[in-house]
Amino acid sequence: MKSGFWIFLAAFISLGGSWCGFVLAPELQLGGAKQTTILNSSDVYPVGRPGEAIQGSSVYRANGCAACHTEQVRQNGMTCGVTLTDAGKNPEAVTNLISSLKLTGLTKEEADAASAKITAAGGKAEIHITATGPDIARGWGMRRSVAEDFLHDNPVQLGSLRAGPDLANAGVRADANWQLLHLYAPKSVVKGSAMPPFRYLFEVRKIEREPSPDALKLPPEFAPPVGYEVVPKPEARELVAYLSSLRATAPLYSAPISP
């Protein structure tokens, strides 16, 4: 390191290397990614979110929801099971064979072998793939999150902390009504929730003539004074539309599961 030039060169080489590796190469590999087809189906995945949900994604960003919520499900592995769909011409032999075989908790190879034996005996079998892991067991998703799930998102908000539950499949778990109640008063639907209430996404207004059909049906201790009602502002609707659009359940080649 005789002069500034050599220091510059050292820094240039190492940073340039990682730039090529983690900026250029991912862009070349994934930057032109297109929709994929769902396993055993001709449908494409992912379809874009509806317009209101795209606006909701920006409410999600503005309020920093990703500071406490992740949108990525992890998976430890997978387990296969074999189900008999047709006993064929010789049901007795197939039944005897099945009672001697292990049919759940198999690896892919074991399942293939078992399936082959059943087919050889004249029956028909189907293999079911189930993802395993704590996140799956918690019901946060059916499979791990993969790159395809985030194709249309901008910005991609994966999150890095689970102060609140994972939201990769928030749309599957809860309906829009529950989401609105939860946003206005988290404790009204989740006892002891640590989520701050987002009351500023709602309007508390005097009931004119007759109550609005959109007004929240809150439990008494969270309800506004008599003669008033709580109505979601557009931001709240958009945010809920976004949350409802979070569904990463399609079986994909990169994350196979049986629907």
Partner: protein
Amino acid sequence: MTVNEKSNINLGGARLLTSRLAGTLAPPVDASLRVPLLALFGGAAFWLVVSSVLAMIASIKFHAPDFLANCPWLTYGRVQPAADDALLYGFCIPAGLGVVLWLFAHLGQAPLRGTIVPAVATKLWHLGVFIGLAAILLGDSTGFAWLEFPRASSVILFFAYLLLALWAMMNFAARHERAPYPSHWFLVAALFWFPWIYSTANLFLVAWPVRGVVQAIISWWFAGNLLFVWLALVGIGTAFYFLPKFSRRPLQSYYLALFAFWTLILFGTWCGIPPGAPVPAWMPVLSSFAAVLTVVPVLAIGVIAWQTVYSSTNCEPKGGPFCFIRFGLSSFLLSSLMSIAMACPRISGVTEFTWFGPAQTQLQLYGFFAMMMFGAIYHLLPRAVGFELPFPKLARLHFWLSMSGVLLFIVPLAIGGVVQGMKLNNPNIAFMDATRATLFYFRFSTVGLLFILFGNSLFALNIFAMTFVWEKSLVRKALSVVTAPLEKSPASASLPSSPGFDVTGRRDKEVQA
């Protein structure tokens, strides 16, 4: 041949340093730095306090979710990133740049020329931070961690940094001691590092966003390079100047430092992609591999520091700045080991998505970098301004508050993170129970944050008082020029009597407007 002899014989920069340390510094060097340093550190101190107030608000929300809940711009998801960015962009980077300017001028024995430009660039930088923080609180964040500032603010920050780095490099080019000292490698590399990663991240994430998870990958790459590599380069570069200075012996040794530098930039720059990320598998694997290899530079830095400070017959160095730097280095070793652990898939399976990650980041940002900067600033600012610290006892108190604050804040948070992770990994334990388990640890962390807030306020108090005394002396000097014919000896009679003793033994003759 001992390491010491070898490093002296082989020369390198190490022997040069002894002459640089022993020699008295040319007054113009310090005088030239006064205006930009006061501007950089003054603003940094302000944002530091802002950051701890915001962090405190965010932390209280975990104990009382209803706290300030009706105020959109103080919701947790806005306050927390604002607190983080105020610490990183508001304090760490300008403080680091100020220390770089001072170190370059001193190591090269060359006064800073055209100080108006870095002074203006500093004001621009702080303006950029203000716009960025206001935008986050108003809901205009970009949504990328550590890159929340919107476009307008990023452009200002980028050009302000370029100007400051350019002036530092011009000063480096004008150095009188031609052979670069080890600190030079780290600091020159850091000056170059930031514009590259910051422009890449802003162009590909904010200006022309790439598609899908490539966004997440670039964002991780940026955060890793900023939080691990940039902070380490500046912090360790600073330590390699101050450790030999305080222990009065050369750095042990030149070649080990060269090795640490090369391995740090070579491996460190690939870190940051978490093992469980939903991206093609080669990326997290490569990143984890590099992260595990960073144990090499981290240990090398530990060995260098230990041998420089402790393997000497001299008594151990003492003093406030040394305490800060020693604590900062220990935090660096610990936070690096924590981040290496998080790169291992086994451990990451437990710690990912828990409070362990934020604990590591805060240890890196505050426990390591900010503490290092406090030590450096307490040492260099009195020399640059020409006054002793106005409240030296408060600086001591600051050390104790910050140190206990960091321990109270980080240790329970990291333990809480592991507990949370183990509970989250057991699907039979309800999610709420896992969250509730962390609340116990969070109470300690909030108290720790309170300590840190007090410590930071004391730091700001010293810096502001120093700026005030200096500005007062400027006014007096101006007055003395105006009233000169009326007094007998205006030059000496109207000079300020600074509180405490004058470090450099000089009066304030070379104060420049």
